[in-house]
């Protein structure tokens, strides 16, 4: 599962930063049928979380109402230099993760 993360490379301590993530995933709803009429099993990313230096700063429970290749954006406060690490899991148990570092000054 490919993913892209975007956060500022650098920030001032206490600055509110924008965090964006885009994950490649079909987000199969479970309501569609294949060419021969069989129901396609639901397979969506059901949990997505983000840890900032080990501390969870964001969590979302996604469901079949979210489009394919989900895009999530949120804000957090830059407290210290470190890593933002995303991890997620889909209905089939496949896990993905992606991390990016930030330098905090001041």
């Amino acid at each position: 599962m490919a993913a892209r993360i975007q956060i500022p490379r650098e920030a001032r301590r206490g600055e509110v930063i924008e965090v964006r993530i885009l994950i490649q995933h079909p987000m199969e709803t479970g309501y569609r049928h294949d060419d021969v009429g069989h129901l396609i099993k639901r397979n969506v990313i059901n949990a997505l979380s983000c840890r900032y230096d080990g501390v969870e700063v964001f969590r979302a429970d996604l469901s079949s109402g979210i489009s394919a290749n989900p895009y999530v954006q949120f804000y957090t406060v830059a407290e210290a230099s470190g890593n933002l690490e995303f991890s997620w899991i889909d209905d089939e148990g496949e896990r993905g993760s992606e991390r990016q570092s930030i330098v905090v000054r001041g």
Partner: protein
């Protein structure tokens, strides 16, 4: 003297009429498909991070430098990045070696088979979409240039005929919507001019990336006409005509469309 002037005027008029007949939409009125989008999709396309098509471009960038096939060559082994800038804007074009008309997919597969000794990519496979999206992205902003002289002329004429052919249960040609009715409403949608400059593109309806031919097939299905197999000659010819029709429009790949 007066007679000669009249004759000249008549000749100019005839030339003007022929020109107008040739180009249904004058260059000054050309509008990319993005001009028919809502502000949300327009913003999504222009957001280099959030544009979901960039997932394929990124994958394409990896494929570009990954050695493949019996000869263990990557695209990047032969092509330096600067040399493919603007190249996609001139497709479809005649391949000098075979004399055949190639779209970008055809070019990629010819390289894979002949130069890399690798299996060709299937149309609409993730790899094909990724590599064509990556290559087209290197031409971002480059104006489409279609050459219709020489060996391309016959393909151009066939493409023009295909574009104007009424087909399917609805008995519609491409021209009836995209030349004669663009800008008007079709149910909740605004009819676009039908230009190819954003493909491969990410379509909301598909929830994924797709090639220009997939888009052509969607139109054909919409008018209840027969869909041809991917890579068929009629599609290639039509792609050349579409490129000529869109001459000058900038490449937007990966476009975001409804």
């Amino acid at each position: 003297m007066r007679f000669a002037g009249l004759a000249l005027a008549a000749a100019a008029l005839a030339a003007g009429a022929a020109h107008a007949e040739e180009r249904a939409i004058p260059p000054g009125e050309l509008k990319s498909g993005s001009a028919f989008l809502g502000s949300d999709l327009h913003a999504l396309q222009n957001d280099e991070f959030a544009n979901p098509g960039m997932l394929w471009v990124e994958r394409g960038a990896k494929l570009w430098s990954e050695p493949a096939g019996k000869k263990n060559l990557a695209c990047a082994s032969c092509h330096k990045d600067a040399s493919i800038r603007g190249v996609a804007a001139s497709y479809p074009k005649i391949d000098k070696a075979s004399g055949k008309l190639f779209n970008l997919e055809g070019r990629v597969n010819a390289c894979r088979v002949d130069r890399q000794g690798a299996e060709p990519f299937r149309y609409e496979s993730e790899d094909m979409l990724a590599i064509t999206a990556y290559v087209a992205r290197q031409s971002l902003g480059a104006p489409i240039v279609a050459r219709i002289d020489g060996a391309a002329r016959a393909h151009f004429e066939a493409g023009r005929a295909a574009y104007h052919l009424r087909r399917g249960q609805m008995n519609l040609s491409c021209a009836q919507c995209h030349d004669a009715q663009w800008g008007k409403r079709l149910l909740s949608e605004t009819i676009s001019q039908g230009h190819p400059n954003a493909y491969p593109a990410y379509r909301m309806e598909w929830q994924t990336m797709g090639s220009l031919e997939r888009r052509l097939r969607a139109c054909l299905s919409g008018i209840r006409a027969e869909m041809l197999p991917y890579g068929s000659q009629e599609y290639l010819d039509l792609e050349l005509f579409l490129a000529w029709r869109a001459q000058g429009l900038p490449i937007e790949t990966p476009g975001v469309r409804r």
